[in-house]
Amino acid sequence: MSALPRTTNNRAGRFGRIVATGATLALAVLAAGCSRIVTDVGPPLPQRTSLDLAPGHDAIRDVLASLGPPAQISAAAGGGCVMLYEHNAINENQLGFDIPYGIPEYFKLVYARATLEHDCWAMTFDPHGTLIGWGEERHRIPFGSGFALQFLVSAKGLVDTSEISVPATQHRWGMASLCPLPQVLNTAQSLTSGADGLEQTPSPPSAGQHTLDMEAR
C-alpha cells in the first residue's frame, strides 16, 4: 500500500487531531468516573447554645418539646434513663481514571475517600425525669478509603458504610431472641433492647458488651 503525500491540509488536520485527542484524553483521564456519594442519617443537631436546656433545671418534657424523640432510649441504673440524639453524614468522593484504548476503555480505576461527620448528644435523667447530664460529641474524621476497578457507568460506594447506614435498632427489637446463641445468652447486656444501656452508632463491634456477642454486628 503506497503512503499518502503530506500536504498543508494534512498538517492542519494533524494539529486539529492532536488538540481533539488531547482533549479527549484529558476528559477520559481526569474526569472519567468521578463520583460523589453522600449519605445523611437523621436530622442534624442544632447548636447546643441555641437550646434553652440546662442540666439540673429542665426535665424530660422540656427536652422532648425542644428536640422530639431521641434516636435511642434506655433505662439507667438507679431508676433513671438515658437518651441518645445522633446525626451521621458520610461524604464519599471518588476519582476515576480511564485507559481510553481497547478493552480497558470500558473500565475505570477508581480511588475513593470518605469522611464521617458525627454529632451526638447523650442525656441522662434521674428517676424524677430531671436532666442531670448532657454530653456532646461533634467531629469530622476520615472514615475510610478504597480502590477498585469498575465498569465505566457504575457508581458504587467503595467505602463500607454499613455500620452507619444500618437500620435503626428499634426495627430489630422484637427479634432479640432470634439472634445467634451468644447474643441471646447475653441479652442482659444488650445495648439495643432499651433496658441495659445504649451506644453510639459508629462504636466498634469489638469493644464493650459486644465482645460477648463473639462476632461483629
Partner: protein, 188 residues
Amino acid sequence: MRRKWLPWLLMTVGFDCLRTGESEDKGGVSAVTISRRAKTYKLTVPLRAADKLRRMSQGGQLAGRWPNLFALIVALLACVLPGCVTETKTQGVQNLWRGESAPVFRRGQSTQQDVLAALGPPSQLISLGDQTVFYYLLEQTRSHSEVLIAYNQTHAIVVYDRAVFFFDAKGRLTEFATSHERITENDK
C-alpha cells in the same frame, strides 16, 4: 455488493487512523483498501463513495479528524445527558400520629390502651423502672443518583419519623412527643 453506507459508517466509528489506499475500478464499483489500527481491510464500494473516501483521505480528514470529533461529541453528550435513579425504602410502623385525622392524646388522661388502640404495637417497648415507654419509628431512605458517566452523584437521606410515649406505673400517659422530621403520604 453495493454498500453505500459502509464508508460513512467506517468514517464515523473509526476513532484511530483510517486511510484509503490503492483502488481498482471495476465498472460501477471500486475495491478500496483501508487500514485501521495497523490492520488492513479490502472493501467493495460504489465509485462515488470510493472517490469521496480518497478525497477525504488525501485531505487528512479521515486520518483521525472526523473520528476524533465524533468521540468528542459522544464524550460531551455523555456529560450532559443524565441518567437519573431515584429509590425510596421505608420500614417500620405506620406513622398514624401524622395527618389530619391523627389521634389526640392528653397527658394524665390517655392510657396505654388508648395509644395501642390508636397506633398499634410500638416498634420498641422499654421498661424504665416504674415507667414504660412506647417507641414508634418509621424510617425512610430516599436516594437520588445522577449517572453522567464522566461524573456521578448519589445523595441518600435517611429520615426518621418518631413518636415516643411515657407512661407511669398505672399506665397513664405522662409525656409524649413526635419528631420534627416527618414522613408524609407524598413521601411514601
